[in-house]
């Protein structure tokens, strides 16, 4: 455990923050501008993982394991989410023969 912490601490914390911010932003932009549901899904994963990375980094820097525990939780949650989400996308594809989210515009008044 100590080794890993030490290894992580080789890189300064600012770099982690910067990297995670970049990955998170990529995720956000991906969600916002893409219309393909799978890509949006992947972008969401990207955001989740950027947060995971940051949590791990902070956990190492502050010597507190609970950050990494959270990471596990998030990974488990993401797995569940993927299962449900992909199932929805598959159903959408079966019904509309498309995974373009602009087709899914019936959810309104």
């Amino acid at each position: 455990m100590d080794n890993i912490s030490a290894t992580i601490q080789v890189v300064p914390l600012n770099h982690y923050i910067l990297l995670c911010a970049i990955i998170f932003t990529i995720g956000v932009i991906g969600v916002l501008i893409r219309r393909n549901a799978i890509i949006i899904f992947m972008s969401i994963e990207l955001m989740l993982n950027s947060v995971n990375l940051l949590l791990a980094a902070f956990s190492a820097y502050s010597g507190d394991a609970s950050g990494q525990v959270f990471v596990f939780f998030i990974m488990a949650l993401a797995a569940a989410e993927v299962a449900v989400g992909l199932a929805i996308i598959v159903m959408v594809y079966r019904n509309t023969s498309s995974i373009d989210i602009n087709i899914l515009n019936r959810l309104k008044w």
Binding site: V28, L32, I101, N105, K108, W109
Partner: protein, 633 residues
């Protein structure tokens, strides 16, 4: 005997129950007898009390606490003194006669039982009114007689106009009653009690012209104007003639309408201490007397003539009260009860004979056919005209003498009114009993003198109208004025503050001669006009002179009230309902509901259904929240 006073109102009440509940069970004879006996029994007890009572102070008999809340304590109790005893005698005495008369008059009516139950109920309430030992018990009777008046005016309610007349009477009375009620509140606030026995001694120590007392008395007087048909609330009384004639005689001539005078005489000390109110009463009384007399001159309905005559005579009584002649005013109540009940009953006898015809233009020459009615009514007419030695002379003369002392101009107008009275009364007599019969052949064949049950009361009342005045023969004729002496304890408090009549005998003689002369002149003028020249009032379709028109149409009082009160209120009612209620208040309430629906219509457009838009909105939202929290800290 005094312990039995509770029986006096109880008898008529039992009579009311028996007649009311048994109206379809018992034959007419039983109902008529029960109802009459109930009142006669009360009369007997009243007579007993009259002879036994010799206390200078009122006797109060408590029954139970009626309303007792906070500082308000209203016992249900009776008070007996000279004033209430005399009223008891009038009510039960004349009431008995009229009950007997009604057994004959109403014998053909389907609502016989109903009629007698109402009549008995009326007597019950009227007795409560005069027996009450405080203003609230008086008010029970006060409103109760109004109710009976409503029921009896609207006795033939299938006629819409009669039902309207009844309603009008009730509502106009209620206007006065509100004044009375607020007066009572003011009395409670001022004296902390409603009992006469507590109020009057306290009032003795107050100064004359006290503002509260003035307000109290004005409010009470408003009540009196409603009940006793004075300006401006008198228009209900002529319409009240829609009721059966015995009702007009009992309620609208002899008893109920004099309740206002009784109330003021009862509260004489309060009024004596309020000179402003006294002046108002005198002026209103006189104005009513004159206006009603002028209207009576052109009326063609025999009962309407008598109704306006009643209003006018009540005006005289108020005039008397207004100048402080309490005994005189009450004396007039007494004599008026005799002769006006007589005149109404006589008119009823005429109407009965004429197969329900009331228009004098269709009568004439009845004196041979209805001798008893004619002769008794003549006595009544002489009495009301104020010719000596009939009853009306003494009472009217006493009032006028006090008026002369008080204010000479009022006296001149008062004498003028007396002349008008003589004129219209003899006009009525001449049109009805002299000349040729003007009705239809069918009516002519039915003409008959009334049965004994109707003529005996007429004869009794005629005798009273002739001799009734002798209970108050003034000193000038060598009398001792028994009535003034008898009532002295009641008016004691006021007496010390009111100057005694201090006219010299020669002045009194002059006044008397002038007024009697005026009356005789008026009678002669009526004789010339209606007998010598056989004048008959024109039919409604023919034109009248402007003055006659105003008089015939009762100074347009009804039209005036309709225009300034009834129509505006109805218009406001519609305005409130349609504009303020529906569009205004309910508009706001419904507007709130509609507003939220409209707002939701606008807001739901944000739900485009586009997932990308939702996500974008979410991100924007997150960014805004983050910015907010950054800026905050």
């Amino acid at each position: 005997m005094i312990d039995l006073v509770w029986l006096i109102p109880l008898f008529p009440f039992i009579g009311f129950l028996i007649c009311g509940l048994g109206r379809n069970l018992f034959p007419k004879a039983v109902i008529g007898t029960v109802a009459s006996l109930a009142v006669i029994a009360s009369f007997a007890i009243s007579l007993g009390i009259f002879f036994q009572f010799d206390s200078a102070t009122p006797i109060v008999i408590d029954f139970f606490d009626w309303i007792k809340v906070g500082g308000i304590d209203i016992p249900f109790s009776f008070q007996i003194d000279q004033l209430s005893i005399l009223m008891l005698l009038i009510i039960t005495g004349i009431g008995s006669l009229i009950h007997i008369y009604s057994t004959g008059y109403m014998s053909h009516d389907a609502g016989f039982g109903k009629f007698f139950s109402y009549l008995n109920l009326f007597v019950f309430f009227m007795l409560l009114l005069v027996l009450g030992s405080n203003y609230v018990i008086m008010f029970i009777g006060w409103e109760g007689v109004g109710l009976c008046s409503y029921l009896l005016i609207g006795f033939w309610f299938t006629n819409g106009a009669f039902a309207d007349a009844a309603k009008k009477a009730f509502i106009m009375n209620r206007i006065g009653d509100l004044g009375f009620l607020i007066g009572v509140f003011l009395i409670i606030a001022t004296f902390g009690s409603v009992s006469f026995a507590e109020i009057f001694p306290k009032a003795q120590s107050m100064i004359s012209g006290d503002a509260t007392l003035t307000l109290i008395t004005i409010l009470l007087f408003i009540g009196a104007t409603g009940k006793s048909a004075q300006l401006p609330l008198f228009t209900w009384l002529p319409d009240a003639m829609a009721g059966p004639t015995p009702v007009s005689a009992l309620i609208h001539a002899a008893t109920m309408v004099t309740a206002g005078i009784y109330m003021i005489a009862r509260s004489n000390i309060l009024f004596t201490l309020s000179p402003v109110t006294m002046s108002i009463i005198a002026v209103i009384g006189l104005a009513t007397a004159i206006i009603a007399a002028i209207i009576a001159i052109t009326q063609t309905d025999i009962k309407k003539v008598l109704a306006y005559s009643t209003v006018s005579q009540l005006g005289y009584m108020f005039l008397g009260l207004g100048v402080g002649a309490y005994t005189g005013a009450f004396f007039h109540v007494l004599t008026h009860a005799f002769f006006k009940a007589l005149l109404f009953l006589g008119a009823g006898s005429v109407i009965h004979a004429m197969s329900d015809e009331q228009d004098m233009r269709k009568m004439g020459g009845l004196k041979r056919k209805l001798p008893i009615t004619f002769f008794t009514m003549l006595m009544g007419t002489l009495a009301i005209s104020g010719l000596p030695p009939f009853a009306g002379f003494f009472s009217k003369d006493e009032i006028l003498a006090h008026v002369y002392e008080h204010n000479k101009i009022l006296w001149i107008i008062g004498v003028l009114g007396a002349m008008l009275t003589a004129f219209y009364m003899f006009r009525m007599m001449f049109l009805t009993f002299w000349g040729n019969f003007r009705g239809s052949e069918e009516q002519k064949s039915h003409l008959h003198e009334s049965p004994l049950s109707m003529t005996i009361p007429l004869i009794v009342l005629a005798v009273l109208s002739v001799i009734g005045g002798f209970i108050g023969v003034p000193e000038i004729f060598g009398g001792s004025h028994w009535l003034a002496g008898y009532l002295a304890p009641v008016f004691e408090g006021s007496g010390t503050r009111m100057s005694e009549l201090a006219l010299s005998h020669s002045t009194e003689w002059t006044l008397m001669i002038i007024s009697v002369g005026g009356v005789v002149a008026a009678i002669i003028y009526a004789y010339i006009k209606y007998i010598k020249n056989s004048h008959v009032p024109v039919m409604d379709s023919q034109p009248r002179s402007a003055l006659a028109k105003i008089s015939y149409n009762k100074f347009y009082f009804d039209e005036f009230y309709a225009a300034i009160i009834q129509k505006p209120l109805d218009a406001i009612s519609g305005f409130f309902f349609r504009i303020i209620e529906k569009s205004g208040i309910d508009g706001v309430v419904n507007g709130l509901g509609k507003g939220s629906i409209e707002a939701s219509k606008g807001l739901r457009l944000l739900q485009t259904g586009n997932v990308g838009f939702y996500i974008f909105a979410m991100v924007i939202g997150v960014v805004v929240l983050l910015l907010y929290s950054f800026l905050k800290f």
